[in-house]
């Protein structure tokens, strides 16, 4: 691990150089003051105090629609009805200004897409082609609970470089080989002063102490799955849920997808689109039977998966990084912290 000093000019120049070598994504302020990752190099230091982007950056590795195969149904073609992979070129990309919770989320999603048994080439190739240049959080939101959900405001998991704000410059913590390469390209090579390590440590403690919300999941782990599943609180707690799926779409750790064919004329595309356990169609059988027929059953699935099944299956914590997006954007104020408390009590 190496520490570099990056002053304002170096930062801007670096962003430009990264833009020329990678497909660079940066957080850009939108008209309504929200932020979104866009392909640009016009990064503005003054805007980097942003809390987090409205949508998580998961779509940069796992797009909402991924075209996987193509085919033709034209009987005159010798390729008729043969499905062929669409060879996607995974250009090198970099995400500059990703928050630590979001970069940690990729490690959680990886457990699903890259296993001994199954390897998802689309996700893996795209993930490998991505360099993560994170930005530590000095002023977390009151809905951030990352420190009790696999991450923290200065967490380094999944990052190649961590940038720490220091006045109007940055200290860059180079964490991986990929990070070294990016720092070299960006020209961020000035060694940081020796006291940086302790300064960062202090800043980190300060940021962590500003995290005002937390969850406990320890008891959930030991609870009997069926007991939790059949608990009486679900109907009441999930009553308000309109099953809109917003929480899953904005969540960095929700990974479910649905495979669809779309044919226009005689040309077909097989694609996968984001899906959500909140939707009735998610579990609808061909027979018309739906094992999760009621709204509360679908809401229960989301929380059981994130907080119980995932813990049981992978033995490595919950499937959540505490980014707080689902809390902020749920139209009817279903709050995962509240549900978690009830499940854990």
């Amino acid at each position: 691990m190496k520490l570099v000093s990056i002053n304002k000019e170096d930062f801007y120049a670096g962003a430009e150089k990264l833009y020329n070598s990678y497909k660079l994504y940066i957080p850009v302020k939108q008209e309504d003051n929200s932020y979104a990752f866009k392909n640009s190099d016009k990064i503005d230091i003054n805007n980097l105090t942003f809390l987090n982007t409205r949508l998580s950056p998961k779509s940069l590795v796992f797009p909402q629609t991924e075209k996987m195969f193509s085919y033709t149904t034209d009987t005159n073609s010798e390729d008729c009805n043969i499905i062929k992979p669409i060879n996607k070129e995974n250009l090198k990309q970099a995400i500059l200004g990703i928050r630590p919770c979001d970069s940690a989320s990729f490690g959680i999603v990886e457990k699903n897409f890259d296993t001994e048994e199954y390897k998802d080439p689309f996700w893996i190739n795209s993930y490998k082609a991505t360099t993560f240049i994170g930005l530590a959080c000095d002023n977390p939101d009151s809905t951030c609970f990352c420190t009790t959900a696999n991450s923290g405001p200065f967490d380094e998991k999944g990052l190649d470089i961590l940038l720490i704000t220091s006045g109007d410059s940055f200290i860059g913590k180079i964490l991986t080989k990929k990070g070294e390469e990016a720092a070299k390209i960006a020209g961020w090579t000035t060694e940081a002063p020796a006291d940086s390590v302790s300064a960062i440590e202090k800043q980190k403690k300060e940021a962590e102490s500003k995290i005002s919300s937390s969850i406990s999941t320890d008891k959930i782990k030991d609870k009997d799955t069926l007991e939790l599943y059949n608990a009486s609180f679900w109907e009441e707690e999930a009553f308000a849920c309109i099953n809109c799926g917003t929480c899953a779409y904005v969540c960095p750790t929700c990974w479910c997808f649905d495979i669809q064919d779309e044919i226009s004329d005689k040309k077909g595309i097989r694609m996968r689109n984001w899906d959500s356990c909140m939707f009735p169609l998610f579990t609808l059988h061909g027979s018309g039977h739906n094992p999760r027929d009621l709204k509360y059953q679908r809401a229960r699935q989301r929380f059981m998966h994130k907080l119980k099944y995932y813990q049981d299956k992978y033995q490595s914590g919950i499937q959540c990084v505490g980014c707080g997006r689902c809390i902020r954007l749920c139209p009817v104020n279903i709050d995962i912290r509240r549900i978690c408390d009830i499940m854990n009590s």
Binding site: T65, F239, L284, I327
Partner: protein, 316 residues
Amino acid sequence: MAEYISKIQEISKKILQDGKVDIVIGFSDGSLPMASRPCFIKSPEDTGKLIFDGNCGINLANYLTGKKEKIGIIAKGCDSRNIAQLIVENKIKREQLFIIGVPCFKMIDKRKTSLLFEEEITQVTESDDKIIVKGKNKEKTFNREDMLQENCITCMHRNPVIYDELAGELIKESDQKAEYEDVKKIEAMSSEDRWNHFSEMLSACVRCYACRDACPLCYCPTCFVDESSPQWVGKSADNQIDVKTFHILRAFHCAGRCTDCGACEKACPMGIKVRKFTRKLNSDAMRHYEWEAGLTTDKRPLLDNFRVNDYQDFIK
């Protein structure tokens, strides 16, 4: 506001105790500033959980379709109109309901407030004409009037249209006429500009369908966009034609039924102004048929009813 809350709690308690209803559907306190959570109360002892304030913009009529039990429900002007609409459309029976009417003091627009405050909001308190917004580093007082949801600004029916008991005195309705200036502006555009306007507006749509799911009119067991055999609308996020198809068709399904309660827009995570479509249809219903949805349970809905003197100029 405090009187409203105590009255709501009192009535709810009474009807639960008397066995007039099995549950009361209302709002409970939210976990964030400017949020409330729809809830149901089963026991008279729990009625203290019910609240009401300027953050109760979600339309509770959305929770009625298909319910079998006897229900007490808190209804603002727009909720009551959607309840009337659901009764006419046979989705719930009038006899099943005990409607606690709340003459509405208009709802606060969370997005507008956040936009103007610019930092994270940690607390919001409202009085009759002011809202005080607090953040970690500052505090600001706004005129309540400047912070209202757009649909509430033009609302003509703040008093509930049907109710069994009121939680507050009826108020004087606005005497302005529904002008639909916003609709006229879009109507005045060339068709190309209009297409671009809507394309731009919908480009951020992630097709979560929260707008539909928050809408009390959208109760179809399977929405046309979810139909899979045959599949009517493509599902990818890339195809903007499919996105437009969803929005335009959904709006048409709400023609003559929409009460402009604003739940769709409130629910959208992307802040898309989906009411632009339904407003156009509401304006047409008003202009051509002098029709506003959900004002009574005595009339058939606009579009399942034919009158010989109906506007017909569009038939060419």
